[in-house]
Symmetry: C2
Subunit: 335 residues, 2 copies
């Protein structure tokens, strides 16, 4: 299978992206990479790192969409940008199964919807990161920012897409679905969650277990957390920020402490490192954009070669799970 990668997306592009692609083709059987971007810099890095194989193709695209641009305008006007060229190739080439980018989230979503295309029957594609939970498993948060003014019926589809993802990709038998809300009681929430709660309780093909609070985002009590994209984004970023600030405060506190605590911290260095990496969902790869016709994976702007390797593995896993076909079959029933 071939996987296309935006070689010029994110803060560490193109170096880390190209290095990641080299590692991926060296380590993973049956995977070829299409690197999308300006040819010469890519050629230079490939040659610098001694790659001489034939499993990396370069697809010329000499523009980059920045975070500052309006995503929809950029997708329409920058025909030669890495995201537009990458999405076009994904759409047109049956051999290419997925597209990975660390670039502008908005542009990736627009490219997904307007170029790769919405699956028939899906109202709104959604961004669905898998988060490491404290039980050692993963929970899927859907949506975390693609749709910021959701209707209740969108949330029902998010629950259905999330269920199919957890069954197919994460091999969870009967995934529990929770609705992100401000309390666990059935009647808690705002207009959107009230209506969504009613619809989710009646919806077919999902195992809806009720409301879940943001404090349980990482608890692993449910497998799929359904949310309006605005709410999901707030919950995800608040969790990230709290953890980051915790480590910062811990460092400050250690610096202010006596030599016992400093010695203690030195002895715990490995533990801290494991803990940090266990919580860093970026290490696990990227966030799938579910509900478009092929696999589109958005990864963090700070993506390194290691992140890109994880993303390639993830696209391969998603592809081999058959989820795209299952999603298509499931949603075409609604038509």
């Amino acid at each position: 299978m071939k996987i296309a990668i935006d070689a010029f997306g994110g803060d560490n592009a193109p170096l880390e992206i190209v290095k990641g692609a080299i590692t991926a083709v060296n380590l993973i059987d049956d995977v070829e990479i299409v690197l999308v971007g300006k040819k010469q810099p890519i050629v230079d890095i490939l040659s610098e790192y001694g790659y001489e194989g034939d499993k990396i193709e370069i697809l010329e695209a000499d523009e980059v969409i920045t975070n500052e641009e309006s995503p929809t305008t950029a997708i329409r006007t920058k025909k030669n940008s890495t995201i537009v060229v990458g999405c076009n190739r994904l759409k047109a080439d049956d051999e290419v199964v997925g597209f990975i980018s660390a670039g502008s989230t908005g542009a990736i979503l627009s490219g997904g919807v307007f170029i790769v295309g919405r699956m028939p029957g899906v109202l709104r594609p959604a961004l669905a990161p898998t988060l490491p939970n404290v039980k050692g498993g993963k929970s899927l948060l859907i949506d975390c920012g693609a749709n910021v003014d959701c209707k209740p019926e969108f949330l029902v589809q998010f629950a259905q897409m999330g269920t199919i993802y957890m069954k197919n990709v994460c091999k969870v038998e009967n995934p529990k679905v929770g609705l992100l809300n401000i309390g666990v009681e059935d009647k808690k929430g705002n207009n959107l969650t009230h209506e969504a709660f009613g619809l989710l309780s009646q919806a077919k093909n999902i195992n809806f277990v009720g409301n879940v609070e943001a404090r349980d985002l990482l608890s692993g009590d449910v497998d799929v957390i359904v949310a309006d994209g605005f709410h999901g984004n707030i919950a995800l970023k608040a969790s990230e920020g709290a953890i980051k600030n915790m480590f910062k405060l811990m460092k400050d506190q250690i610096n202010k402490s006596g030599c016992f605590a400093k010695l203690g911290a030195a002895l715990m260095k490995k533990t801290f490192k494991k803990l940090k990496s266990g919580l860093d969902y970026n290490l696990y790869g990227g966030t799938a954009f579910l509900g478009v016709n092929k696999i589109v994976l958005k990864t963090h702007g700070t993506a390194t070669a290691q992140t890109i390797l994880s993303c390639v593995n993830q696209v391969k896993e998603i592809h081999e799970s058959g989820i795209i076909e299952n999603l298509k079959a499931s949603f075409s029933e609604n038509l």
Copy 2:
């Protein structure tokens, strides 16, 4: 000054609440407490802890509103509940400056609005916790759950109330106000935040600095974080949950580690404790319900004697800051 306290609110009532009241009158000059609840259990605890002074009054109220009841119905029908009796006393007695409860949040808010009364000119009173930030200061989050379907103009008033709180109570000269959003760029967000951004940019008496992401909730970059109550609640609980789960994971990780890490953890015990208590905003007291005619303070359901002591100090501080008069003066201008 007198402060009324719901003696039967929260998981540790009445024991911890009554103990907290005893400590408060023993430690704080010029404060008298009105304990609201069933007389005999309160008398028993006062006598068990040897309190024989005259600075604690008991105000009989033999019902308790539970978290399971509809708040508005309960406030209307349970006339003899601690929250209704406490709010009535607060409203009627000029000597009583505030009411503290660890009971049902919904009932406290309903009591605040329907009994103590909305300030003239205030559209929606709001729950406003002060959160410890990583710069060592405090930031105010307003609203964090009282209003779950906000109109943009409510958010402008939250910004104004929050500004007055930070100026009066926390002595911040020109408090920076940020709008909780899913990105820092001006155009980010949903319908509500788009409209609110425009209104906040034009609003008088506030120092609006733009959007703030949930990951910066504890960063201390702004002094007042304005949010729809649903969004604020999600952000706050996600942060709490992430920190709680971090400590849980750290414990698990230490248990799985070798003796060096275990020794390290033992040496760092004090540091961890300081860190945990620094992040636990419940220790700081309670959450003010701003925009009602007198001071109403909601504290955590797990409140202990120490929490109650902090709450009494907080009510005293709020009262002495003159914020109630300043809020009234400021919002009556709108009429």
